[in-house]
């Protein structure tokens, strides 16, 4: 039985982090993961439930210093409809478009999707391609202290992150991609609608004279955490996108991933999917 002793709805970040500093708290944002996880008993509530929805510092999409800041409470629908994001980072809007269903998109938040730390989290792969950092706030005894961390270092295991118990993920930031930046994200599920990814593959870089530079690759649902594909990146960096390069890069993906077999797919099938989807993405990039 659930036994929450205290329920708080802070209306400032200051108030929220002070309450969080007292310890033993569960945070509520969109609720789309928290509700089913607690209903099934996969997760239990701490003694204090802090509803973050009224904290203004966690809201809104803004442009600042050549970058974009997504407040943690930004819903997936907000991402999908934001005209600034559509122009600056279409790969993120595209991922939002393929996220669960309309009803879930209207509730689920970007901060929640990251803190839930599913290896299959749909918004995470495009954010890795964009070089995102997470912003974390906590009470340092006298004031609100913040730190930032590259998103790729944030995840430590399925459902586990570097976030300390008293910390609140306040925002995700990434630089606005420059001229020539191209990014692709492909999610593969057993049916097109409302499915948890069997695998997802993202590749990005600056395309110039038939080569990709500053390449970033990222893979979802093929390791305990969403992963950067360093070997894939190295196989592509600065090389002419010939069929040989594409074959080598698709082969290199296999060194980046460590999939398991589960109800959705076998490890073997996941490996084949990543190889094939990478080839398809790179063929597409090379001809467009």
């Amino acid at each position: 039985m659930h036994d929450i002793k205290r329920y708080l709805v802070p209306d400032s970040l200051d108030e929220a982090v002070r309450a969080a500093a007292e310890g033993d708290v569960t945070f509520l944002a969109g609720g789309t993961d928290l509700m089913p996880q607690t209903r099934t008993g996969a997760r239990s509530f701490s003694s204090t439930l802090i509803n973050l929805k009224q904290v203004p510092e966690l809201r809104g999409v803004s442009r600042e210093n050549g970058g974009i800041r997504l407040g943690a409470l930004t819903t997936v629908t907000d991402v999908l409809n934001d005209v600034v994001l559509r122009k600056a980072a279409p790969v993120l809007s595209q991922a939002a478009d393929h996220f669960a269903s309309d009803q879930v998109r209207n509730s689920a938040t970007i901060g929640g999707n990251i803190c839930n730390a599913s290896p299959a989290g749909d918004m995470i792969i495009p954010l890795l391609l964009l070089g995102a950092v997470v912003e974390l706030a906590s009470w340092n005894g006298e004031a609100v202290g913040t730190r930032t961390m590259p998103l790729e270092e944030f995840f430590t295991g399925p459902g586990k992150t570097q976030r300390e118990p008293g910390e609140i993920l306040t925002a995700i930031r990434f630089p606005v991609p420059g001229e020539g930046f191209t990014a692709r994200f492909v999610k593969f599920g057993t049916r097109p609608a409302l499915d948890i990814s069997v695998v997802s593959v993202g590749i990005a870089g600056v395309k110039e004279n038939g080569t990709l530079r500053r390449v970033r690759a990222a893979f979802g649902a093929v390791a305990p955490v969403p992963v950067r594909g360093r070997n894939t990146e190295a196989a592509l960096e600065g090389k002419l996108l010939t069929s040989d390069t594409i074959r080598q890069a698709s082969e290199a993906t296999q060194e980046d991933i460590s999939p398991i077999s589960d109800v959705r797919a076998s490890a073997w099938y996941r490996r084949e999917l990543v190889r094939t989807l990478t080839t398809r993405i790179l063929n597409d990039v090379s001809t467009s």
């Binding site: 036994d3 929450i4 002793k5 329920y7 609720g31 089913p36 269903s101 309309d102 009803q103």
Partner: protein
């Protein structure tokens, strides 16, 4: 038992107050506390859409929503679609065109259909299919459901024009 929290919100156009355990879902509050049983609980994890309600103009899964998050908001359930003249045009269309088999998914389909109709006119059939991707019909009567929403959409847009 979790601590109780008092909330006030607008439910189907009328102000309501409730005192709910803070872990309670919105659907459990609607059905068990407020006795509005039109909204159905299917999967309980946001896969089936039978529990769809409209909150501040957008559709959400009430099985994934905390009841306390209804505080200060405007909630519409299937019971709230009825007008003084009876069923609303989308409900009538579902009846007239037989877009109902066992009926369990129907409240959710109509709520999501209403959310789509409110959003814009002139949707393609493909866009309607995408729009209800979060609603499952285990009788698999999708064709009539999609056609019915499309026809209601067409009627709504011609009413707007006239």
């Amino acid at each position: 038992m979790s601590v109780l929290h008092s909330i006030r919100f607008t439910l189907n156009g009328k102000p309501v107050r409730a005192s709910v355990p803070v872990h309670l879902s919105a659907i459990d509050m609607l059905r068990d506390v407020l006795h509005l049983t039109g909204t159905k609980l299917g999967c309980g994890e946001g896969e089936c859409g039978a529990c769809t309600v409209i909150v501040d103009g957008v559709s959400v899964n009430s099985c994934l929503m905390f009841a306390v998050d209804c505080d200060g908001r405007e909630v519409i359930t299937i019971e709230g679609l009825r007008t003084d003249e009876g069923l609303n045009p989308l409900q009538k269309a579902f009846v007239q065109q037989g877009a109902v088999q066992c009926g369990f998914c129907t409240p959710g389909m109509i709520m999501q259909g209403t959310a789509l109709l409110n959003r814009r006119s002139g949707m393609t059939v493909e866009e309607i299919r995408r729009g209800i991707e979060g609603n499952l019909c285990r009788c698999t009567g999708y064709r009539k459901i999609v056609d019915t929403i499309a026809s209601a959409l067409h009627e709504t847009s011609s009413e707007e024009i006239s």
